[in-house]
C-alpha cells in the first residue's frame, strides 16, 4: 500500500485492518468480494503517469493556463447565455470557507443551518428580482431548468384539464403514477427567440414523450416574438408558451402584449418565461410583473464565473399555487424544538429520494454552491447596487452599439429595444462572422458569437470599459475594412 498525501492511515494501520479482517492483502480482499471478475493491475494503466506531487501538478496546470487567452488582456464581448460579469473578492473568500463548499446536501438540518439560511435568502432575493412567488434552491443551469419547467407545465395543464389527459396513466408497477413526464400529446409553443442551445436541450427532454413542439416566429423587424404568429398557433391543445426575456438576440420581448394573449386563450396555456440574463430585471420589468406562471432561466450572472460553461446556476420560479409541482429543493422556514427559527428543506415528497419514480424531477445534486454565491453577490450589490449595475450594463451595450453602427460596417438585425446584448450583421460580404471573430480574437477581443453567416451577437457588461469598447470599434473597423 503506497503512502499518499491524502491517506491518513499508515502502512502499519492498513496492515492492522487486514489482520483484523483476517485477509492477507489486496488481492485476497477483492477476490473475496468480487469473485471471478478479473483484477487489474493499476500500475499498468497507460493513460496515467505514476502520480504527481502538488508542485508538479501546480506547474502542469499553470502551463495550461498560460496557453489560454490571458484573462487580463482579453476583452470578452460574448454572451449568448453566459455573461462576463465582475465577481467581488468577498465572494471567493467566503465561498472558500470549508463550511460552505465541503458539506453534503443539508439532509441533517440541525448541522446545516448556514447553507439552509443562505439558500433561503437566495430564494427570497431571486423571487424579488424575478417577481415570482417562489424560487427553488437551484437547478443545474438555465437550459435544464427550462426543460423541467416545460414538463411541469404539462403536468399542471393535465391537472387543470383532466379530460385532456391521455389513455392509461395508471401505474404499471409498484411505483405510483408517473408524474414527472406526463404522457400527453399537447403542444408546446416556443418562441424562436429562445437560446438555440436551450432549444436543443428541451428537444432532448421532450423527445421521448408525446408532446410536440412548435416554434413561434420572430417579427423580422423588431426581433420580438411575432404576435400574429402566436395568435395563429394558439390552438386547443397548447399547454405551454415559452418566451425568453430578453431573447437570444438581445431583444426585449413585449411580454405585456404576449401574456394576455396566452392567458386569455381557453383552455388556458401556461406562460413560461425564461432568461439567460436576469440582470436585465434591474432595469426592465420582471416575468412576475407580466403574470408569468413559471420562470426558468440562468442565474450565473450573479456572482459566478463563466467556468467555460459550467457549473452554472439554474433559476426556477413559479406561482405559489404551483409549488407542489416544482422540481428541485426548496428551503423553508420553521421552528426548532425550542421554538426558535430554523430552516429545512420542505415539500420533499415532490422529490426523488421520497417519491422515487413519481417525483416531479430526478434532480438530486443541484448547484447549491452557485446559489450561495448568488446570495452573497446580491447581498453585496444590495438594492441600490443591483439597479445601478443593471443600468450600467444597459448603457455600455448601447454605447458599443452606437459606436459599431457609426463605423458604417455593421447593420442592426432588429429594431427592438435591447438590454446588454444585441445582434448585428457585418456589411462586408468578404468576411464571415466566424472569420471576424477569429481576427478579433487575434487582437485580444472575443467579439461575440456567430449567429448566422454574417450575423454576430454582441454583449457588454461592466467588465468592458470605454477603452475596451473603443478598441472593439477600432479593431472591427480595421478588420472589416481590410477584409478581402
Amino acid at each position: 500500500m503506497p503512502n499518499f498525501r491524502y491517506f491518513p492511515n499508515s502502512e502499519t494501520d492498513v496492515k492492522r485492518i487486514y489482520s483484523i479482517l483476517n485477509v492477507e492483502g489486496k488481492k485476497e480482499l477483492f477476490e473475496k468480494i468480487i469473485g471471478d471478475i478479473p483484477l487489474i493491475d493499476a500500475n499498468n494503466l497507460k493513460t496515467l503517469s505514476r502520480g504527481m506531487d502538488e508542485l508538479s501538478l501546480y506547474r502542469y496546470f499553470e502551463d495550461i493556463a498560460l496557453k489560454l487567452p490571458d484573462k487580463n488582456r482579453f476583452s470578452i464581448f460574448a454572451g449568448g447565455g453566459v455573461y462576463n460579469h465582475f465577481v467581488p473578492a468577498a465572494i471567493d473568500n467566503l465561498i472558500s470557507r470549508s463550511e460552505f463548499y465541503t458539506p453534503y446536501t443539508p439532509y441533517q438540518p440541525e448541522v446545516s443551518q448556514g447553507t439552509l439560511l443562505a439558500l433561503f435568502e437566495f430564494q427570497s432575493m431571486a423571487a424579488e428580482i424575478l417577481g415570482m412567488d417562489v424560487v427553488n434552491a437551484s437547478m443545474y443551469d438555465g437550459a435544464e431548468s427550462l426543460a423541467e419547467a416545460i414538463l411541469m407545465s404539462l403536468r399542471l395543464y393535465l391537472n387543470a384539464n383532466p379530460n385532456q389527459s391521455l389513455q392509461n396513466r395508471q401505474p404499471q408497477n409498484n411505483y405510483s403514477k408517473n408524474e414527472i413526464n406526463p404522457h400527453s400529446d399537447h403542444l408546446i409553443l416556443i418562441s424562436e427567440g429562445i437560446n438555440p442551445n436551450y432549444f436543443s436541450v428541451i428537444k432532448s427532454f421532450i423527445g421521448d414523450i408525446k408532446a410536440k413542439i412548435e416554434t413561434v416566429k420572430l417579427d423580422r423587424k423588431t426581433g420580438q416574438t411575432d404576435l400574429s404568429d402566436l395568435k395563429l398557433k394558439l390552438k386547443n391543445n397548447v399547454s405551454t408558451v415559452v418566451i425568453q426575456q430578453p431573447n437570444y438576440y438581445g431583444i426585449i420581448e413585449d411580454l405585456g402584449e404576449l401574456e394576455p394573449l396566452v392567458h386569455s386563450f381557453s383552455p388556458k396555456p401556461f406562460f413560461v418565461v425564461s432568461s439567460t440574463e436576469p440582470f436585465s430585471f434591474g432595469v426592465i420589468n420582471p416575468p412576475g410583473f407580466y403574470n408569468a406562471d413559471i420562470f426558468a432561466g440562468e442565474g450565473n450572472s450573479f456572482g459566478n464565473y463563466m467556468n467555460f460553461g459550467g457549473p452554472l446556476l439554474g433559476l426556477f420560479g413559479a406561482k405559489k399555487d404551483y409549488i407542489r409541482q416544482m422540481p428541485g429543493r426548496i428551503v423553508g422556514k420553521t421552528k426548532d424544538a425550542k421554538n426558535k427559527d430554523a430552516y429545512t428543506f420542505i415539500l420533499a415528497t415532490r422529490e426523488q429520494h421520497i417519491r422515487r419514480g413519481a417525483a416531479t424531477s430526478n434532480i438530486c445534486t443541484n448547484n447549491s454552491l452557485n446559489a450561495v454565491r448568488a446570495a452573497i453577490y446580491l447581498s453585496l450589490c444590495s438594492k441600490r447596487g443591483f439597479k445601478e449595475l443593471s443600468l450600467l450594463n444597459l448603457k455600455l451595450a448601447h454605447i458599443l452599439y452606437e459606436k459599431l453602427l457609426k463605423t458604417g460596417f455593421f447593420e442592426p438585425w432588429f429594431s427592438g429595444d435591447f438590454f446588454n446584448e444585441f445582434t448585428l450583421s457585418i456589411k462586408n460580404e468578404k468576411i464571415t462572422a466566424l472569420r471576424f471573430i477569429e481576427k478579433m480574437a487575434d487582437k485580444g477581443i472575443l467579439a461575440g458569437i456567430q449567429v448566422a453567416e454574417s450575423g454576430i451577437l454582441v454583449s457588454a457588461t461592466e467588465n468592458n470599459d470605454m477603452d475596451d469598447i473603443e478598441k472593439y470599434a477600432e479593431s472591427a473597423k480595421d478588420i472589416i475594412k481590410t477584409a478581402a
Partner: protein, 495 residues
C-alpha cells in the same frame, strides 16, 4: 482533549440580512467604466421604451460589505463539513477535497473562460476533456465518455435516453427499466423522466440481486436493468456478470449506476462485468467538493456500440486539433447548454493526475478496508444489526436499527445524538429494504483513530443513553430538533 470531538462552544446568531439594512447602504461601489458625465446621468428612458422599465426595484438587503461578510461568516459556522468532522454519509463518498484542485480551478484564465471562445484558443482545455475521457475509458474498460451531464441524476437520464434511442432506432418498443429496491431514488425518477416505466426488483437475502430472480422480471418490454454496483448496501453485486448475460440474451442492456465507483476504482473494470453504460459521479469518487448540495458532474460512459448515441457536443481530435463536434449520428442531442461542468471536471482530472497509476488502486483498497473495519467492529457492538454479517462489504456498510432499538433508541435518534458527539450522522433510513437503515461510508481519507472514536460514540449512544436524552438531541447545536412537519404544513419559502 475531550474523548469525543463534540463539545459546546460560542456561536453567533444572525438575523436575516434583509433586516440588517439601512436605507441607501450598499456593499459595492459602481464603476464608471470611463463613461462621460453626460452618459452617467442618463436614465433607462433614454435607451428603451418606458413601458418596459421596472418601477419598483427588487427589495434586496441594503448592507455594506462588512455587514454582508460577517453575516455569511457566521452562517458558515453553523454547518458541519468534511473539513471539520468525520462525515460518513453512506453512498455519498464524502472524501477529502484537495485544496490544490480548488486552486487550479480558480486560475484566472480558466475560471473566466467563456464557453463559446473559438476552439483554437482553448486547445489545452479541450485536451483535458479529451484526455480525461481516455483515462475514464481505461479505468472502466468502456469506450467513450460524455461529460455533458451536470450530476449523477443527469448522467442516469442521459444513459436512459441513450437506451431509449437505441431501441427506438432498432424499432423495438421496450419501456421497462428494472431497478433494485435498494437503488437510489434518482434511478426510478430518471427512468420515468426518460419516458420509461421503472419496475422494482427485490434484493436477495445476501444483499445483492440474484441472477435467478432477474429472470422472473424479463420480457420483451424490458429495455435494461439499472443496477448500482456495489449497491447502496455496500455489497458487491456478485451475480453481475451472470445478470449481464441474462439481460443481453433478452436483448436488454445493462446500465450501472457508478456513484459507488470508489469501491473498486483501479482494481476492477466494469467492462468485465458486462456493463453497457455507466455514470460516474465525479463529485464523489473523484474528490470534487459537494458544495452543500452541488454542483457535480455525472460523466456517462458507454461500450463501443453506443458511442454514437452520446450527447452533443463532444471533443473530437483530428489532425492535431481538438474541436467541439456534433456529428454523432444517433446522438440523443444536447443535455446541457454548453460542453460540460468544466469547473468540476477539472478538479476531478487534477485529482486523478495526482494519484496516478501508482496510487489509484489504494483509494478503493483503503476505502474498502476502512468500511470493513467499521463493519467488523460495529457488528460486534450492535449485535445482530449487521444484515450481512459474514460478508465483506465494499466501500460502505449498513446496519439495521435492531440493536439500538432494543435499547429504546431509534435510528433517527442515533443520528441526532451522533451530532452532539461531533460526528456527522451516517445516511439513515436508506435503503428502504433495511429496517431503520444506518449506512456508513468512511472513505479512504479517514484514519483508524477517527473511526475508533466514532465507534465508541455509537456504543455509548446505543447502550448508555436514556430515551429522554435521545428525544432532546441534538442539544449542542445552534438549533435543536427541527420541526419538519410544521415546515411542510405552512410552507414559508422566502422572507
Amino acid at each position: 482533549m475531550a474523548n469525543f470531538p463534540g463539545i459546546s462552544g460560542l456561536f453567533f446568531d444572525e438575523d436575516l440580512l434583509i433586516r440588517q439594512g439601512s436605507k441607501g447602504v450598499c456593499g459595492i461601489s459602481i464603476p464608471d467604466c470611463g463613461l462621460k458625465d453626460s452618459e452617467l446621468e442618463k436614465t433607462p428612458e433614454d435607451y428603451i421604451n418606458k413601458k418596459f422599465i421596472r418601477k419598483k426595484p427588487p427589495r434586496l438587503p441594503e448592507v455594506s460589505e462588512p455587514t454582508a461578510v460577517r453575516h455569511f461568516v457566521r452562517l458558515s459556522s453553523w454547518n458541519m463539513c468534511v473539513d471539520s468532522v468525520f462525515y460518513p454519509l453512506g453512498s455519498c463518498t464524502m472524501k477529502y477535497n484537495p485544496k490544490i484542485n480548488e486552486l487550479i480551478a480558480s486560475f484566472d484564465n480558466i475560471k473566466s473562460l467563456h464557453p463559446l471562445t473559438p476552439a483554437h484558443l482553448v486547445q489545452p482545455v479541450l485536451k483535458i476533456i479529451h484526455d480525461f475521457n481516455l483515462i475514464l475509458c481505461e479505468l472502466t474498460g468502456l469506450d467513450e465518455f460524455s461529460f455533458s451531464p451536470q450530476a449523477g441524476a443527469a448522467g442516469e437520464f442521459t444513459g436512459l435516453k441513450i437506451i431509449k434511442r437505441y431501441y427506438d432506432l432498432k424499432g423495438e418498443k421496450r419501456d421497462i427499466i428494472l431497478i433494485p429496491d435498494s437503488a437510489h431514488g434518482t434511478n426510478p425518477a430518471s427512468s420515468a423522466l426518460a419516458g420509461f416505466t421503472p419496475v422494482e426488483i427485490k434484493t436477495g437475502v445476501n444483499g445483492h440481486i440474484e441472477a435467478k430472480d432477474v429472470e422472473g422480471y424479463l420480457s420483451k418490454n424490458v429495455a435494461a436493468i439499472m443496477i448500482t454496483n456495489p449497491n447502496t448496501l455496500g455489497i458487491f453485486e456478485k451475480d453481475i456478470k451472470k445478470i449481464s448475460e441474462i439481460m443481453h440474451k433478452n436483448g436488454s442492456l445493462v446500465y450501472m449506476d457508478g456513484a459507488n465507483f470508489n469501491a473498486f476504482i483501479g482494481n476492477v473494470k466494469v467492462s468485465d462485468m458486462g456493463i453497457d453504460i455507466i455514470q460516474l459521479n465525479l463529485h464523489k469518487t473523484f474528490s470534487t467538493p459537494h458544495g452543500g448540495g452541488g454542483p457535480g458532474s455525472g460523466a456517462v460512459g458507454v461500450a463501443g456500440f453506443l458511442k454514437d448515441y452520446l450527447p452533443a457536443p463532444y471533443v473530437s481530435f483530428n489532425n492535431g486539433n481538438y474541436n467541439l463536434s456534433e456529428d454523432k449520428k444517433q446522438t440523443i442531442g444536447r443535455i446541457a447548454p454548453f460542453l460540460c461542468n468544466f469547473g468540476v471536471l477539472l478538479k476531478a482530472y487534477a485529482y486523478i493526475l495526482s494519484l496516478g497509476n501508482g496510487n489509484i488502486s489504494a483509494v478503493s483498497e483503503i476505502a474498502v478496508l476502512n468500511a470493513n473495519y467499521i463493519k467488523k467492529r460495529l457488528g460486534k457492538i450492535l449485535n445482530g444489526a449487521d444484515p450481512f454479517k459474514d460478508r465483506l462489504c465494499m466501500h460502505e456498510c449498513v446496519f439495521t436499527d435492531k440493536a439500538i432499538e432494543e435499547n429504546g433508541i431509534s435510528t433517527l435518534e442515533l443520528a441526532k445524538l451522533l451530532i452532539d458527539y461531533g460526528f456527522h450522522p451516517p445516511t439513515v433510513y436508506f435503503p428502504k429494504n433495511i429496517h431503520g437503515a444506518i449506512m456508513i461510508e468512511p472513505t479512504e481519507t479517514e484514519s483508524i483513530k477517527t473511526m475508533d472514536k466514532f465507534l465508541k460514540a455509537i456504543e455509548k449512544i446505543g447502550f448508555k443513553t436514556k430515551k429522554s436524552a435521545a428525544l432532546k438531541s441534538p442539544r449542542r447545536t445552534k438549533v435543536k430538533r427541527v420541526n419538519e412537519a410544521l415546515a411542510n404544513k405552512h410552507p414559508i419559502f422566502k422572507y
